[in-house]
Symmetry: C2
Subunit: 389 residues, 2 copies
């Protein structure tokens, strides 16, 4: 096991009506005037935004708003938010939405007190030392941003989609998680979220760090729970308990508990980020395509851990690692398929992906050799993209 530091101070308030705690929690975290971030109006139409506003007002917390945040959020919205906060003496953010809305709030939170350009943090030129506190009202279980210190933003100039990871600075101060808010998620978004949270576990699970049984077992447990609960939420979108299990699994998948003491990978995420940056696909759906391709490559080159996943999680029985790994890939594809997710570029609606462009941008952004579980150069990442055809 590797040495590690682990600290997750986020306070989770989980359950029915959790969003009504926004005002109380904002006060407790010393917010007096907040910027509320949200997406394209579903939180307006559902009345959620009004409930959050009322909760803030009732607690004496002022607010201004920044709506219209897109999936795969980009830097102009972040810059707009930073200006808004500075001009209005905002001292906290409340993100009402999913990963894109939360990640934008985190980027604004980091940018406001920073004298330089906020992109410096994403470009690796500066480290986030201080940030405004961020509170979350979660509506989409997927990105895990409600518990993580991460934020993924795309720089429009060059379409660079980059994930910033902080140990603690950008973890939300509080996250309000009401599973009922996810009843109305469209099936494709529900399924994509499930693929995303599974990917967050895989990226940690596939490691060469030996003797990490405790995190292996926890990761396998979270994966098993997701695989058992996923069909229930697809079949009955208003199944509270199934939604609750999926929602909490999404947090555990990405708050770091599945990664303690081990080298992580993240190549599948990097490879997908190029796909969604270029083709604008839903991140989780892109992952449902990339993950099996990556695992297929590994079945041929480094099958051990993929085989373990197959045996312990997917019920694969083969003793030979390469065979067990390929069986794991097939059962994972079948699982994604059963949720209505694509497992090929064509299924994503990309008939002729420009793989050379994807490979070029990937290695430009991430370096010539990438990957933790298995090191990949441009030749290998090209092969993996091709396996997704």
């Amino acid at each position: 096991m590797e040495n590690f530091t682990y600290c997750t101070p986020t306070k989770y308030v989980f359950g029915r009506d959790a969003e009504l705690q926004a005002g109380t929690e904002a006060r407790k975290s010393l917010m007096t005037k907040v910027l509320i971030t949200y997406g394209h109006g579903s939180v307006v139409r559902s009345g959620l935004l009004d409930r959050v506003k009322k909760s803030l007002s009732d607690a004496g917390v002022e607010y201004i708003e920044l709506g219209g945040i897109d999936p795969n959020p980009t830097d102009p919205k972040v810059r707009e938010g930073i200006e808004l906060c500075r001009n209005n003496n905002v001292d906290g953010l409340v993100a009402v939405g999913g990963g894109s809305v939360i990640d934008t709030a985190k980027a604004i939170a980091a940018g406001v007190p920073y004298p330089g350009d906020f992109w410096d943090f994403w470009a690796g030129k500066a480290i986030v030392e201080t940030a405004l506190p961020v509170g979350v009202v979660l509506t989409i279980p997927a990105a895990g941003s409600e518990g993580s210190g991460n934020s993924v933003i795309t720089l429009l100039d060059g379409m660079h989609k980059i994930s910033l990871r902080t140990e603690k600075a950008l973890r939300p101060v509080w996250s309000l998680m009401n599973p009922e808010l996810t009843f109305t998620l469209p099936p494709y978004q529900t399924a994509s979220g499930i693929a995303d949270m599974m990917a967050h576990i895989f990226e940690r699970y596939f490691t060469n760090t030996p003797a990490v049984e405790i995190t292996d077992r926890v990761a396998e447990g979270v994966l098993k729970a997701i695989i058992e609960e996923a069909p229930k939420v697809m079949e009955r979108p208003d199944d509270y308990d199934a939604r609750a299990n999926i929602m909490w699994a999404g947090t555990l998948a990405h708050n770091g508990i599945c990664g303690t003491g081990r080298k992580e990978d993240w190549v599948s995420h990097f490879m997908e980020h190029e796909v969604s940056a270029v083709y604008g696909v839903t991140h989780g759906a892109g992952l449902a395509v990339i993950l099996p391709a990556w695992m297929t490559f590994m079945a041929n080159h480094h099958p051990e851990k993929v085989a373990q996943f197959g045996r312990r999680v997917m019920g694969v029985m083969s003793h030979d690692d390469a065979t067990a790994a390929m069986e794991a890939v097939m059962s994972l594809k079948a699982f994604f398929g059963s949720l209505g997710l694509p497992v090929t570029f064509a299924g994503l609606g990309i008939d002729k992906p420009d793989i050379d462009l994807l490979v070029k941008k990937l290695h430009e952004n991430k370096g010539n050799i990438i990957g933790g579980y298995y090191q990949l150069g441009p030749e290998q990442t090209k092969e993996i993209y091709q396996l997704a055809l």
Copy 2:
């Protein structure tokens, strides 16, 4: 799933030489003068206490000391510590040891700023609102106190052993966890610690709350890891990786992650607390006796979840719940036995336990009807104690 609030702000520094961070972490948590608590000198003999002191001194943090804390710690030592802190303007505590040492530090931390008697908190007459910050250098993986908000203290007058549970106030600010410090633990203490951490999971796992698959699976994962790693640490006490897995499992067993969204039980702990209060046995060894007795009772009265534990964790195959539950009990007893732990009162060295006294004190302390998974009155708890003969 039940609604829940979950917040674990403790910063874990895990790995070789972690104890050398004591000074830095004390400074970061604004400690200027600390009380170091410890037990009966093994930390002196090993040189650990000196390393911690040097780390504090190097960081400019002053310290005074309170050694001689016993297993099953009692109120006089807490009162002594509170006086010491008040007379010396101490603003933080550093516990160097296992559960008893940490729990005493927490009790002192709660007592110093409180104008009344610290026992008020344990007696349920007051709630801990504020406490001095507590840092931990962990030497025994067992009690999980390095990550929990709990503290177990025995009031000498009447031998009342009571566990106080706080959501956040008494969670350590930081915990330094170096698995190497556990290499020299005697086998019996290592094994007792393993039983203790398993019990912390069982008390959460055995619930009637339906549809808690995510926490069930996480709990089962931690149990599996413990069962796989335990024989390794018994066989090779200096196996770093096995010690590391056990140490981190002990934290996850009790920092609340296995209990989110469910009603918990804690009857086995309550029943054992009476045994160790009256007979002074090691808490974990007492649990190795009580847990199988409790499960045996449940196999006859409410076997479902015991059967699930048997099938998912112990490899039991029987389809009938009562049979599967009894097989789970037998395999758990065999596992404890393989670690050198007792599974009966006689094995604990108590040939004729005064069961009537244990039952009387148990219900005096905890009420006439106790238990979450199954409600137990004096008649039933007497039967469980008798099943441990």
